[in-house]
């Protein structure tokens, strides 16, 4: 599995975590992801994921007029999104602990 594929697998959880912090719009979200080190992934990758997460009811969007011209869509997390984020954190904790202990054994 390439690093890009691995990153995409956990992108949902990271997006949820960023949206849970504050109401946020697409470009801001993409910029934040990059700042956290997700530079391999194209900025547009987030949009299909945002559509899917809206369908699943994890996030919701509200449109407001933006300074740059067209209406801007701001995302916020829903109750079921918050539950999914908690579940993701638990899965990630379990996975990272397992991986770390294997890597330590290798050392």
């Amino acid at each position: 599995m390439s690093s890009t594929q691995m990153l995409k697998g956990i992108l949902d959880g990271c997006l949820l975590a960023l949206i849970a912090e504050e109401e946020i719009y697409g470009y801001e979200l993409a910029t934040k992801l990059k700042a956290y080190g997700f530079s391999d992934i194209g900025e547009g990758t987030i949009y299909p994921l945002l559509i899917r997460m809206q369908k699943l009811g994890w996030i919701e969007a509200t449109s407001r007029v933006s300074p740059s011209g067209p209406k801007r869509k701001y995302y916020s997390i829903t109750t079921s999104g918050a539950e999914e984020l908690t579940a993701f954190k638990e899965r990630w904790q379990y996975l990272s602990t397992s991986v770390e202990s294997i890597l330590k054994e290798d050392d």
């Binding site: 697409g26 900025e43 559509i51 869509k73």
Partner: protein
């Protein structure tokens, strides 16, 4: 702030592809606006459209499409719009000639041709939206339209040769359906802000009625003059609207 040609074309291609794939119009407009907003900021920061799409805009457009549901209700109404729009000429012409008998073969065949026409047209649009070059393949659209026109002519010929169950409407019901058809055309045009069909119907039938009843010309002359006038009107309206959309 204006977007680069490359970004504008990407947004147009995305919109055409999603609508031609039967995605909901409102959801399509929302994602196009959202990506437009993203591109405005990205270009202001010195990035190109590739920062959104990666190396393949076509693959990116498909990935967005994959996440959006097919709107069957919208697709049904689009087919009905084309079906009723196309059959309105035939129906109203028959009504003027006093014909109110229709075979199942003609009604069903027309509906089938409308559905095939729209489905294949959507496929052509989808292919064009994913191509690298900006020019649409006009010849293919011309051939596509001509083939379907021939299919309609073929249907009319076959309908004359083969006997199938028929429905005969009384004159009053016939005129009532005619009035409903005109109302439908006007309401649809008002809703979609596209007036080409009511204009074409008006130019096709009003001069014809005048030539027949005021100037007492023969039926064939009236139909021919109306046909030529309608063709010119459609061509002029089409050229004007493409010029306007280019100016926008």
């Amino acid at each position: 702030m204006t977007l680069s040609t490359e970004s504008t074309r990407f947004l147009e291609d995305l919109k055409v592809y999603l609508l031609a794939s039967g995605k909901n119009e409102q959801a399509t407009n929302e994602i196009v606006l959202e990506l437009e907003d993203h591109l405005i900021e990205a270009e202001a920061d010195g990035k190109s459209v590739r920062s959104i799409t990666g190396e393949s805009p076509a693959a990116y457009i498909q990935s967005i499409s994959h996440e959006m549901a097919f709107d069957s209700k919208q697709a049904f109404w689009t087919i009905m719009q084309v079906y009723l729009g196309a059959s309105s000429f035939l129906y109203l012409q028959n009504l003027l000639n006093g014909t109110t008998t229709y075979s199942i073969l003609l009604v069903g065949g027309f509906l089938l041709i409308s559905a095939v026409y729209l489905t294949t047209l959507a496929l052509l649009f989808r292919q064009d939206a994913l191509r690298d070059t900006a020019r649409p393949r006009l010849l293919r659209y011309g051939i596509h339209g001509s083939v379907h026109l021939l299919l309609i002519v073929g249907l009319l010929i076959v309908n004359g040769l083969i006997d199938s169950p028929k429905i005969t409407l009384s004159p009053s019901v016939g005129w009532l359906i005619g009035a409903l058809l005109i109302a439908w055309i006007l309401i649809t045009a008002w809703k979609t802000k596209t007036w080409i069909l009511p204009i074409a119907v008006f130019v096709f039938f009003v001069p014809q009625l005048l030539l027949l009843f005021v100037f007492n010309l023969s039926e064939i002359t009236a139909v021919l003059v109306s046909y030529v006038l309608t063709s010119i009107t459609i061509a002029v309206t089409f050229i004007r609207s493409s010029k306007n959309s280019k100016a926008d």
